[in-house]
Symmetry: C2
Amino acid sequence: MEAVKAELNKTPRSLSKQARRKQLIEATIKCIADKGLSGTTMADVTQQAGLSLGIVNLHFQSKEKLLIETLSYISDEYTSGLNEIFNDDKLTPEQKILAHINFDFSRKIIDRNKLAVWFAFWGETKSRPTYLSICASYISEIANNLTHLFAVLKQQGGYSTVNPDLVCTCYTALSDGLWLDLLITPKGLKPAQAQAVAMHYLATQFPNHFKSQTGH
Amino acid sequence: MEAVKAELNKTPRSLSKQARRKQLIEATIKCIADKGLSGTTMADVTQQAGLSLGIVNLHFQSKEKLLIETLSYISDEYTSGLNEIFNDDKLTPEQKILAHINFDFSRKIIDRNKLAVWFAFWGETKSRPTYLSICASYISEIANNLTHLFAVLKQQGGYSTVNPDLVCTCYTALSDGLWLDLLITPKGLKPAQAQAVAMHYLATQFPNHFKSQTGH
DNA sequence: CAACTGAATGAATAACCATTCATTTTTACT
DNA sequence: AGTAAAAATGAATGGTTATTCATTCAGTTG
């Protein structure tokens, strides 16, 4: 990972295949944010990357594959960040949930370019089975982990009326909806406020563990 | 409205301009759902409508204007439905909120073709100021009305700790996120379940007025 | 019913865009 | 340094698509 980043200083030709692909994917993210999925052309992407027109076909075979890899890229970034939290044995369930929220609204994830990419692909899932299956797999993986955390907290904290499945569905939807707010009304809602809204909901379910700010 | 519908029985040439535009917009919705925003061509739309290729330019001047009218169409349908509820003097605030939820997850709104259109446009708002401004205006109109209802219910119901702005932001985001669930995991979540999730949240804020189903 | 009006058609056009591949440039290896 | 292999280039290609507009057609009017 760091090795890949260091390579960016070398002359273009010396970049590894992996780093070149990453460079092109990041150019794609920028283009989708700037011009929309429908307005992004191969010329746009390669120009954004500062490379020649044919380079995408060389590394990805086709535009369609580049787009699929771009969706996979942001999905992997998101799920791997969450998995690090889930698998961290030093954290209690409560701390894991807290870390999850922090991650959901962190600078790395709440980047309006990436948010635009998420929504661009979500908007095409109905017509593109490949996009749908990529989304479906990360969604169910995260839901399983999160539901489990809520179930443990319910048990340990004596929250007898909490329904972990319901809370997972509600929290996940809330988080996605707040992402939309952050994408569409950038001047209206700041990431920290969005995070406070999410906390406010969790505080309704686990009042002994999470506190809602009194914010107004 | 009914007059327009009745016209659909007439021969093609006798349809009013208004009805023809509606016909083309509905064909556009179907195409965006079936082929995505980027995959929708003029040939697709006109064929879906059973009309000839040049008809869109005749009625909308350009593809771009057709798309803008399509976004306006679903926005208007949504906001006018909500405004009917807000402006119905026979309903109490509590009943209005209930009607709002019912509407958000009604068959008319939760049509996967239309959901696909919402997300398709949301994904392009960052790059298309026109789309953004259409979205921004209906969002703020609805938020004002909804916040007001929550404020009245807070007052009347003695919910001293409720923050109407926060509840409005949270409910709206939750609703949008549930729409995403309904779009992406159609077999996983039914509209009635999504509505129950939204109710579950409102029950946390206004427990004397709304009850969460015990659902499992 | 003949002349008129405007809606609708779809072949033709012109612009756009993904992909190819012959050529050039760089790197690795001896 | 010399050579082979790999990476990158970008002009050319071919397919696609939005838009135009001369023509056709249906409905209306006097």
